[in-house]
Amino acid sequence: MSDYSFVGKERVRPDAGDKVAGRTPYIHDLVRPGMLHGKIKFSEHAHARIKHIDTSRAKRLPGVRAVITAYDTPEVRVGFLADNFALKRDKVRQFRDEVAAVAAIDPDIAREAVELIDVEYEPLPGVFSPHDALRPGAPLVHEVDARGRPRTSNLVDLKYGHHTGDLEAMKRASRHVVEGYYTTPRIQQSCMGTAGCIAEFDGHGNLTIYAKTQIPFLAQRDFTKALEAMGLEGCGARVVVPALGGGFGTGLDTHCYEHIAILLAHKTGLPVKILYDREEEFAYLSPRQSAETRVVQGCDANGLLTFRIVEVLQDNGAYTSWGATYPSVMMLPVTSLYRVPAVSFDAKIVYTNNTYCQAMRGYGNPEVTFPIESNLDELAREAGIDPLELRRKNANQPGDESPMKFRIATCGLDDCLKAVGQGLHWTEKQGQGRKDARGRALGVGVASLVHVGGSGRIYRSDGSGIAIRLDDFGHAHVAYGGVEMGQGLVSSLTVAVAESLGIMPEQVHLNQTDTAACPWDVGTHASRGAFMACNAAIRATKLLRDKLFALCPGVFEEIAGKASAKGKSKDEAAKIVGAPGKPEDYELKHALVTKRGLPDEAWAKVDLAKVLRAVHFRQAGTMLSAEYFYEPPSELPDWEKGIGNMSAAYTWGAQGVEVAVDEATGEVEVLRMINALDVGHVLSPQALKGQVYGGIAQGLGYALYEEIKSDQGRVLNAGFTDYKIPTASEMRFPIDLVFVETEDPNGPFGSKGVGEPGLVPTAPAIGNAIFDAVGVRLKELPMTPERVSVAIDAKGRIDR
């Protein structure tokens, strides 16, 4: 498939020029006329009754335009279970609860005013782990549900499960069984651009909000509901998405700060901006959810997997956002990573007085891939089978239907494992007890992944609309509702439009995401950006081409005739170009319209712009545009049963790493990595590599460095001083990228989604390599030097 003009070719990002020049406006840079600055007063307790809020001192501060609390504003509910409120009334349930907010003429005054708000609390006992929260008699985080019905426990009312195959029979059929408990931490998405928004109203009560969101249309729905709650029924909400500065899941839900900005803007009649600083981003934005996982897997004497049990306990925090729905994605690897005849999956999600959690890249997948792949390594050792070999024996194959009823059309997992083995020199290196020149123990490890590669249906519509309009100059203006967060959607969408329409990438102009201009899109998540946008683009451009070719007969001949007429008579020229053809006689490539049967000469290649102008500027003229709404061929799973083909394609991959472990300090250094990924087809090499490298860096952080630390619900490391993400120095190991092209039939140009996979198998691959190096199994992330050294010491004691 090398006859593409642009697909798969090296191209620079269309937005890079502006970004390197500092010309790209982020929410931080936007200013609206008359704009005020909002600031939020957060709770000082993890769990307390609000007895009294005194805003009088804040209101008196010069420059303050509004101070609001739940007691003087309409109740605006937040979250898909509606268990959260923009401003809290009666009770706070976490340290970050919003109890009041200020709008002032500058950020310093707003901050000062917030400090002048006095809140009197009656502290309540809190629960800070799911275990504590489930104890009989534990304090209830929510006494009633969203409808006011009394609650009796801290269990969140969401049911996820999966039970297929004859578990008991398969247990009996197992020669080897290994069980383990694993813990993964809350981590912060750490977008370089912090969160923020600007809300403003027009004179009719219509809202425009500039929001750092990945879900402009679901946000529009949330904001419209908020308008209704504010008594503005029938008013519109428009969401405009500035350059994002990173998303990684933070933008998958609407946030209290956005609703507060709306309340402040409505109250003051002026635009209000709320911008989080880094400390607020860490302390008051929802991180990745933590998980505790029990995993049991068995295999027969030949190493074929017999069963898998995974039980997950999640600390939801005080309110429900998408973190609570991680089990919907956990099911993916639990049921479908390797062939497993019997699978049992259960998840409990528990309210606590910790910070509530949200989406982050990978969305539940890394949380269970770490236990599954670590445990699988132990199983291989128990069975005396090479861990790579065991994985290859059990690798999924094209044509398989997994226990969750995934229809696996293409699957390059075995090719990926093979590539990792070769690249890493697995057989020479694994289990050799090698040391490097500094005396550090060396080891290799591998882990695999499966993720949705054809979007992931978690909502009634998983669609994406696109609208493409051609101007008089042959340029295509594309309105698409998906969000460029840094991932490179602009690269793949530009290439897809140019390729499938037949124009040059430079003629493709992507409009800023704006609900007023773009057709509906469910959101940019689940590695769906390029898959959906390009599928939609391919179909919309087909419509455009059909319209164009239907207009070509006569018009084309007239233009080409003029061009060919040099030195010829009119009749001669007309003869050469021929009579008006049929629509199917015309072709558009590289912005030139050609006609079947004409010679390969300059006059027979008509500039698209000329054709467009000819059909526009004439009697009953027309302009060309097309819309398409693409719904991927997938099913909304039954979450309680854990059954349903949730994606139109599945992405597979494997990572292999070599590590050096300093046994004295416990420090782990990754020496090299082979990352093999079944991408379907390479769409945009630079963007693809960036996504994978970036995912690996986040995977490395998850594996070795990152953890939000908290004490009784209060975040202790709210900043980069004590929350460490990898720097260029930690990413100093060479990474070999291997892209396996399996040409998925549902994929645009055969491609699959690749946004998240990079980080999914990194932690278990490193954990497995640590085991190979020093014989200790790390079951808690991050695998810090301290934890590694403690494990080495413990092993030393046992060995002695």
Binding site: A664, N717, E786
Partner: protein, 290 residues
């Protein structure tokens, strides 16, 4: 942000006079720590007296007996200084791994010391080099050993109205080797623990002089005197290095905090101490009579 003043005196006397007139004012050099603390309201708003524009406080002068480092000399300038890199190798190592170019270009040696962070990375090497600090007050100047200048987390022996003007490092005799090792969580991090080693073997007839210091494992960066004592009068062989490392681990008083446990810090001191000694010795075992 407050409307508090920001003074930019150009002489030391003017700076001291400003402080005398406005006792609540604070001296600021690079400001890389103070500005963050002011912004986070960990330090009350105060007038600031900048020391950046005082030539007599800035620069390195190499004298026969000592290297004199003006307090406001930037960490980057020190790192670029040939004599410092050559003769004060452990300090060079510390500077190389200290923060980032953006911070080193602004942060000063005096600031790093006066901030009195237990984890200040320039302190252990300077302690190992037996550095002294010169303090300038409204009435008098005085000199203190660095080891007694550092008084506790965030605390120094600076009296009211006094400032650190100069760091004086005795020039290491010929035959000196030094090393600095640290561990952070990632490359850009505060040290969880650090150790500097100074070994001087002037000639084979004299006993070697060994000085050790550690950072981030006590209220202040500290000399490891017990560890040093274990090395007196014995060959610097592998067993000696292990014994010194064990003594070092025993004499530090690390705390548990969110960066590390005390136990792990103690472990690091043991490992880093042995390795720093080994590195300073050029990985050779040194046998010495007497």
């Amino acid at each position: 942000m407050t409307d508090a003043a920001y003074h930019r005196p150009t002489t030391l006397d003017a700076a001291l006079a400003l402080k005398r007139d406005e006792p609540s004012a604070r001296f600021i050099a690079g400001g890389t720590d103070l500005l963050v603390q002011l912004r986070k309201r960990k330090v009350a708003p105060a007038p600031l007296i900048s020391l950046r524009n005082i030539p007599e406080l800035c620069g390195v002068s190499v004298e026969d007996e000592a290297i004199r480092i003006g307090a406001t000399t930037s960490l980057a300038e020190l790192l670029r200084h040939e004599v410092i890199r050559r003769e004060l190798r452990a300090l060079g190592h510390a500077l190389w791994t200290l923060a980032s170019q953006q911070i080193r270009n602004v942060g000063t040696l005096g600031g790093n010391l006066c901030n009195a962070s237990p984890a200040a990375d320039t302190a252990p090497p300077l302690l190992a080099f037996d550095a002294a600090v010169e303090l300038a007050g409204p009435k008098s100047r005085r000199t203190l050993p660095l080891a007694s200048f550092l008084a506790g987390p965030g605390k120094t022996q600076l009296a009211a109205g006094e400032l650190l003007s100069c760091v004086v490092v005795p020039r290491p005799p010929r035959g000196t080797q030094s090393a600095f090792l640290r561990q952070g969580r990632v490359a850009m991090d505060l040290s969880l623990a650090s150790v500097a080693a100074f070994i001087c073997i002037e000639d084979d007839r004299k006993a070697p002089v060994v000085r050790l210091a550690a950072g981030a494992v006590g209220p202040v960066p500290m000399r490891l005197r017990n560890a040093e004592a274990t090395l007196v009068g014995r060959p610097l062989d592998a067993a000696a290095l292990v014994a010194a490392a064990e003594a070092a681990a025993a004499e530090v008083s690390p705390i548990n905090d969110l960066r590390s446990s005390a136990n792990y810090r103690r472990r690091l001191v043991r490992v880093l101490c042995e390795r720093a000694l080994r590195q300073a010795l050029g990985d050779k075992e040194i046998h010495h009579e007497g």
